[in-house]
């Protein structure tokens, strides 16, 4: 099911991305930061959608690779001068991919509920590594004082010190990632990945190696999550072990499901809805002091309500709106 090619989904996706593109022209620092955060999370959720929506691998540890990508920014930035966006960005992807490959060797051997528990446990191992040891100031987190820039022949083309530069870079990365993933999903590899999701045994009988296909998808998703984490850390120039934490993995799944799994475009809707919902719930003037302080309670209730009542996510609802899928739960795995 390629919901991204559905006209209603594609139209809404274009509208949301254009809205994000317009923020620097009317918004202040706060609005711009929220919009950049939405786009970073959209990238992160795309990596989750690749695994859950297309590979049938319910991961509860994707934040580990996101966090590693964020730490790559810290490791690859010189202390008192601007690092290179290319070096740090590619380094973040490489680190995410390497970590995903190494844990993937073990993790993709497991299935179903084992997969959920094992991805969570390995992610927590990464969290413990940064939280309990002295690497990058341990549990206190660390600051990147000068954000990276892209300089070619002495001319600075992109400087992440400028919020607008960062915002448009992330937007471009999201568009490229969406396009690349659409191509990937339609490629023989993408077809094989979805085949493994549907019927592992039959794919093996056809001569495919499900283990390698899953491992490849897991590694790619790790690279994408690493890139997302690097861009996210560039917003505030701050990294902490919480970026590898299970809460963020949970948030990512909520976004992916809210947007609609297996639709790619849903990643953007899910990220936008959850980030905006959080901003509303945290706003004292809108919801009152008690809820703003304890906004996790309404958020939890909304998540529980979504599971019990609402299926197929936003992309599913949009495609049903278009009428072509009828009353069937579109976008569900």
């Amino acid at each position: 099911m390629r919901l991204i090619s559905h006209p209603a989904v594609l139209l809404t996706l274009t509208a949301v991305l254009l809205a994000c593109a317009s923020v620097p022209f009317w918004g202040g620092t706060y609005e711009l930061k929220v919009a950049t955060r939405i786009l970073c999370f959209a990238l992160f959720v795309l990596s989750i959608d690749l695994l859950i929506g297309f590979g049938g691998m319910v991961t509860f540890g994707q934040a580990a690779f996101f966090g590693l990508g964020a730490y790559a920014l810290f490791f690859l930035s010189p202390e008192y001068e601007a690092g290179s966006i290319l070096v740090a960005g590619l380094g973040a992807m490489a680190l995410g991919a390497l970590a995903a490959l190494l844990t993937g060797l073990v993790v993709v051997r497991t299935k179903g509920v084992y997969f959920i528990m094992v991805t969570l446990a390995f992610a927590q191992m990464g969290f413990a590594l940064f939280h309990d040891t002295d690497i990058a100031n341990g549990s206190d987190g660390a600051f990147v004082f000068v954000k990276p820039a892209l300089t070619v022949a002495g001319v600075t083309l992109i400087d992440f010190e400028s919020r607008t530069d960062l915002h448009f870079t992330v937007l471009a990365v999201v568009v490229i990632a969406l396009a690349k993933l659409v191509v990937l999903i339609r490629s023989p590899f993408g077809e094989a990945l979805q085949g493994v999701k549907t019927d592992d045994r039959r794919m093996r009988a056809l001569g495919y190696n499900p283990y390698l296909i899953r491992l490849a998808a897991f590694t790619m998703a790790g690279a994408l999550a690493g890139l997302a984490g690097f861009l996210f850390a560039s917003i505030d120039g701050y990294v902490s072990p919480e970026l590898l934490g299970w809460q963020l993995s949970g948030q990512g799944i909520v976004m992916a499901v809210l947007g609609g799994l297996g639709s790619l475009g849903g990643a953007v809707f899910g990220a936008a809805s959850l980030v905006l919902l959080e901003e509303v719930l945290k706003d004292q003037s809108l919801v009152g002091g008690f809820i703003a302080e304890h906004w996790h309670i309404p958020l939890g209730l909304i998540i529980v309500g979504i599971v019990l009542a609402f299926r197929g996510g936003i992309a599913g609802a949009l495609s049903r709106l278009g009428g072509t899928l009828g009353g069937m739960g579109g976008g569900r795995p």
Partner: protein, 288 residues
């Protein structure tokens, strides 16, 4: 290293492992029989510990607090099963993960509303508050021994109920074939509710026993949840025997890891999990 010191660590590891078994056995039973992955299991452990804190303040004794707390925990488990979890039995793992993730947010934030975010200590009952002297400087607290004995007794009781009683037979039958058991006239809804309440009761009871040792603090639920997952994965999902052996192994590895590799103790625990999974992807006693 001093042999008495090592013996104390050995006892600590066993005690920690036995306590972990209580919590993980609830998780593995709920998954094995009902097919539900419950991320909120650790949250009930946390609630148990906080309940022990408040009830001990009210009654003045941990034992009274536990006697009051257990029926409360069972009732809470029953209510959660009837309101939330019974809708999850036929649903996908992903939906179970999402719903129980939402429940963690609600339970954890409610804890913050009721008890705030400060850690609290819980006193050991006076009649257990002494240590057995081993050498001139080293001694072993009786409370920890008592916890080990209680956990062992419960493990024995569980083995008896599951293996030798009619209820245990129904639980094992429900695990094997839900439809057939229901067709034979067993009220599967009530059976599940009872079992779920028992699982939650075990988690909460674990929290109450741990409260004087670990003290009571906000993130305690997640810590236990993740380490319980490691136990369940190593032992094989649904296997109580596997959970028992894995919990003891994890308890020992964790305690000795903290002695020899203090910064990397938790990494060693996950390394053990990885090694077992490479060897047996479905855990020690898992099927499939």
């Amino acid at each position: 290293m001093d042999p008495v010191f090592l013996a104390i660590q050995l006892l600590n590891g066993i005690q920690q492992g036995l306590l972990l078994f209580l919590i993980a056995s609830g998780l593995t039973l709920i998954f094995g029989v009902m097919g539900v992955i419950n991320l909120a299991h650790g949250a009930f452990y946390m609630l148990g510990a906080y309940a022990a804190f408040s009830l001990t303040e009210m009654t003045g004794d941990l034992l009274l607090a536990i006697l009051l707390g257990i029926p409360l925990a069972l009732a809470l488990g029953w209510v959660f099963e009837r309101v939330f979890f019974r809708w999850l039995y036929e649903r996908e793992h992903l939906e179970q993960v999402l719903l129980t993730y939402g429940l963690i947010l609600i339970i954890d934030e409610s804890r913050s509303v009721i008890w705030g975010n400060d850690p609290h200590g819980v006193p050991v009952p006076d009649w257990l508050d002494f240590s057995i002297p081993l050498t001139e400087t080293l001694s072993y607290p009786v409370y920890r021994l008592a916890v080990s004995v209680v956990c062992l007794a419960l493990a024995g009781a569980m083995a008896y109920v599951l293996g030798r009683t009619r209820l245990g037979m129904r639980i094992r039958a429900g695990e094997a074939d839900r439809e057939t058991v229901a067709a034979l006239g067993v009220d599967i809804g009530t059976l599940y509710a009872v079992l779920f309440a028992a699982g939650i009761g075990l988690a909460a009871f674990g929290g109450m026993l741990a409260a004087p040792i670990e003290s009571v603090f906000p993130g305690m639920g997640e810590q236990v949840l993740i380490i319980s997952f490691v136990v369940v994965v190593i032992g094989g999902i649904g296997s109580v025997k596997g959970a028992f052996l894995a919990a003891l192994a994890i308890g020992l590895v964790d305690v000795f890891g903290q002695v020899f590799l203090p910064q990397f103790a938790s990494v060693v625990v996950y390394g053990l999990m990885a090694a077992v999974l490479i060897w047996r992807p479905a855990g020690l006693f898992g099927r499939g």
